[in-house]
Symmetry: C4
Subunit: 195 residues, 4 copies
């Protein structure tokens, strides 16, 4: 399951670049043409870092599993589906952020796609906490609570970003970036298996 999940995450993160388009109005000054599509670069960076964090968390989560049952497999498939959708919502946001209309909707959908991923993680987490036999070493109550709080904070951030999209789309994108940045600190020290 990990090889397939790693594959889907690696592909989704790399496909993001296809949504950045080469400016076509060859008459204009290229610096300005490139500058005007800054939402594409911001979208690329925010989505790349977010999927990167998803990958780290995904890896951490599945390293704790001793067994995988079919519910986990399909919750995982839902999680991967929501991640695989991100290149589309990133392109949507990038194309509409500076448009005369639709920047609110596009940004809300963008933040919404991150919320979907956060829900996917919560679903997997909750299932694992209620099925302790799947874990190698069941988490204690304090650890579970700390994870769920972490999850919930992310969801709250993305909900706020969805609401803010209708006030100021730029602030909404900034919140999405901040949520990603907030997930960076953590305890991810992996010891390599001796080879």
């Amino acid at each position: 399951m990990e090889a397939f999940s790693d594959g889907v995450l690696a592909i989704a993160i790399t496909l993001l670049v296809l949504e950045i388009h080469v400016p076509t109005d060859q008459g204009a000054d290229l610096w300005h043409a490139l500058g005007r599509q800054w939402p594409s670069y911001v979208g690329f960076v925010v989505s790349f870092v977010t999927i990167g964090i998803i990958w780290v968390n995904h890896h951490t989560l599945y390293q704790e599993l001793a067994r995988v049952d079919r519910t986990v497999l399909f919750l995982n498939l839902f999680l991967l589906m929501s991640v695989a959708f991100i290149p589309f919502t990133t392109a949507l946001m990038a194309d509409y952020l500076n448009a005369s209309q639709g920047q609110d909707v596009a940004t809300a959908v963008y933040a919404g796609s991150f919320l979907l991923v956060a829900w996917g993680f919560t679903a997997v987490n909750v299932y694992l906490y209620t099925h302790g036999d799947l874990a190698r070493t069941p988490l204690n109550k304090a650890e579970r609570r700390s994870r769920l709080v972490r999850n919930a904070s992310g969801q709250f951030g993305y909900l706020a970003a969805i609401g803010l999209a209708f006030v100021n789309a730029y602030v909404s994108i900034a919140v999405c970036g901040l949520v990603a940045a907030a997930y960076i600190p953590g305890r991810w020290t992996w010891r390599r298996a001796p080879s």
Copy 2:
């Protein structure tokens, strides 16, 4: 063989997102523009879940193999080819489902591509049952029969979907989704190798 197959399946499932296009008529209301392309989302979800199930079944099948001969390799290549074709048929269905013409053909081709995959699985299964030396533990007669019945049900469903495409394309898509959903239950408990 598994790394390559996993790669092809992971790429095919993730490429599905490239077939969802950002609405270009920036004058229109974006909610409506996004809503109008609901066939793209339905196609994304149905194809994603179907390829996800293909991956699970593929994994289960190849875990039972002790050896791989060249016939299996090429039957597998045919199976992967039919899966790699799905992003095209998904895009075709999504583009034509709400068109004034061609929704029957596009939907029939979509269901037909799933039928092709089902045939690929049957071909591999039948070959394995008649070459018991390839399996780790040969399946007994009851297990073989149960698998072939399962396979045949899927094929029957997709055949029905092809026919229904010419009556009502929406019902046809629904049948494709139901066949995928029907494959979800099963006995897929994998124990992780200790690491």
Copy 3:
């Protein structure tokens, strides 16, 4: 090196589908519109099977290696580059095969890209035969000769296809397909490592 090579081959083979376009003239009969782009399907199948065979041969070749030096790494990179180029030449052939002009050139380039891959394989093979210390079990003279003859036959076939492209493009494509088919038979029995 194998994981990276497997990745490139799996991606190149799956990207082929992106070159098949959904017909856009929604007024026409969709069966006919789909039928008219049969060169895309033929190109997809021929290129898919060819890359599939490349993958099998690549795997066989590198399983025989005990060590990889930097020359092998870069010969391998050249080989992967020629394979990664195939989705472009396939699209070129498919777009021009039924055009009023350019079908000869497009088909010659298509066959030429397969010739490039065959050269890449020959380069790796010749290097390995002259550096026996890289192999696990050096091949004897008869085996080497048989491989080089096999390689040379493929190159002769693709050279013929390039020439035939200027006589009859359809025959040229057929020859490319036949060369691929001729590579299918072989001795590829892999025993799974016990797990």
Copy 4:
């Protein structure tokens, strides 16, 4: 981490082909039409070889690690992000190299994306040298210096290429190619793990 990194690098290198377009003016002579887009082929080759070298160096670097902490993970993510950006800058350069305007900017951005990757490598290297506990066998001072000199030479080359882009874009591309070529020699002998 290596599976994910390998995946991203393999996908980025293979996506390069999507930036080569099939000529669409079917009236013109196809040889000439194909010839006119030589910047696409040069960009494909230079970027392919550069990403190939990145992969080799990346692999070498991470083989020396005993542990991975979260700073390494995120420096690595930044490195992968800069590599994943290369298909865009390659397409930009290829589209503008022969345009009447913008070839200087496009070429400078192209060389700049390689500089970004070089910075990513330097950041990882410097972090590892100052955190010797992450390495399996810490490098001695002479080795560190030799690596940093190597890194610095590459950065100097790319800086020169950025400057040259505003003098002569073709020379700038040639310098990018030469820097890649200069990285090819090295001591990359990997012994396969016995299997």
